[in-house]
Symmetry: C2
């Protein structure tokens, strides 16, 4: 089984065989987290980071009044809390949206990598930088796009990210989120998510049955969502 993180990093720059071996060896164990359980809790000070091998996860914050905002959706190959190796205290939770297979990597091992493998360190750093770029893109979408455009933008992004790790099947991806979870992701109410989706289906932009989301008109979808993929850094460069 190929580590999907290797696949992901190789979209950014070449990895040496030695570096691949180091990444494989970094995994201390693999665990399974059930849907709707936290992979990491807010407030925790973990000594390990979690690499998602399979399934969908979400970073989220909850306010006192129960309102929730999802700040990231993670898929296979995503290091959901790599940052925590340096940040120390989790300022948000990470939730399994579906059953998840998670590779556990001790912080001590990551520290060893930073001491001994500068190029690999830079690629892991880049990995967190792309997360940051995605956050910025979500900020602009949230602040300046309509609900429909925001939704279209989100779908475009997720599609490309899944494709990058070989998890898109033609024009179809798995989107195992409820409309309520989508609302928490986009900052919308469940009711409005429902109406926006109906509109997009009627417009012939997407089909969404069960978990399977099909992009029917990529060109128009990117145009509606004002989507440009530069920020995902999906190009080979020396880094």
């Amino acid at each position: 089984m190929i580590n999907p993180l290797v696949l992901k990093l190789e979209r950014h720059d070449r990895l040496s065989d030695d570096e691949k071996r180091v990444l494989e060896g970094a995994i201390s164990r693999v665990r399974v987290v059930e849907a709707d359980e936290d992979i990491v809790h807010e407030g925790e000070r973990p000594s390990e980071s979690n690499l998602l091998l399979d399934g969908y996860a979400a970073r989220y914050k909850i306010f006192s009044n129960g309102r929730r905002q999802i700040t990231a959706i993670h898929v296979a190959g995503d290091f959901v809390d790599l940052h925590n190796f340096l940040v120390k205290t989790m300022d948000h939770g990470v939730l399994a949206l579906t059953p998840c297979r998670v590779a556990v990597v001790p912080h001590a091992t990551i520290e060893k990598i930073t001491n001994e493998h500068p190029h690999l360190t830079r690629l892991l750093w880049l990995n967190t930088l792309v997360d940051g770029a995605i956050h910025r893109e979500w900020l602009t979408a949230m602040g300046r796009l309509s609900a429909t455009a925001h939704m279209a933008h989100f779908i475009c992004e997720l599609f490309l990210r899944l494709k990058a790790v070989g998890r898109a099947d033609g024009d179809t991806i798995q989107l195992p989120l409820t409309q309520a979870e989508l609302g928490d992701t986009l900052g919308l109410s469940t009711v409005h998510v429902n109406r926006v989706l109906q509109e997009m289906r009627k417009e012939g932009l997407i089909r969404w049955q069960g978990d399977a989301l099909t992009v029917l008109d990529w060109k128009r979808l990117t145009s509606v969502g004002e989507f440009t993929p530069t920020y995902l850094s999906l190009q080979l460069e020396d880094r």
Copy 2:
């Protein structure tokens, strides 16, 4: 003149004298950027990164229709485009909001640091991770807080960040933004920014005259903005 980046990093972990010397030596030159000029342009592929020594800057994206979203406000000590050392192509612009003194650090020098100074590298990495944490916090504020709460949250954050680099004067900070720029930051219209500010002044939360913003009631301001500073990582730890 002490490099404000040193000040900032020392809020996270101790720096050795050697590391401080390396940071000082990394600066190839200092330049001045006028207000309303780009420090870095969107689409550029720079070979240097910019460290803000003085002044205020903003990261921003612009849509075809002219709508703008500011995704970060930067102050003294902020490495406004450190990420670009690995990301290569700027997916957003960085604008000087006031006249800025900027220290220029060649990417080659940063690469050298990553090869030779793992601990310093981790602190620079952390620096970009805190940027990411701030982005996430802004996302939740944008998605789930009212305009007033969002504004309060923003002021609390900026206040603590300026205090961390010694740029707060008691309860007063410099906030050299127009209401239009504040709107682009919070995702609001200029008109609504104006009304929210009047409300907050009437409530006795803040005073804002010219560039000087004074926090009149910190406790209530944090409560209105549902502000908790964990995400800023302002604690000494071994990293």
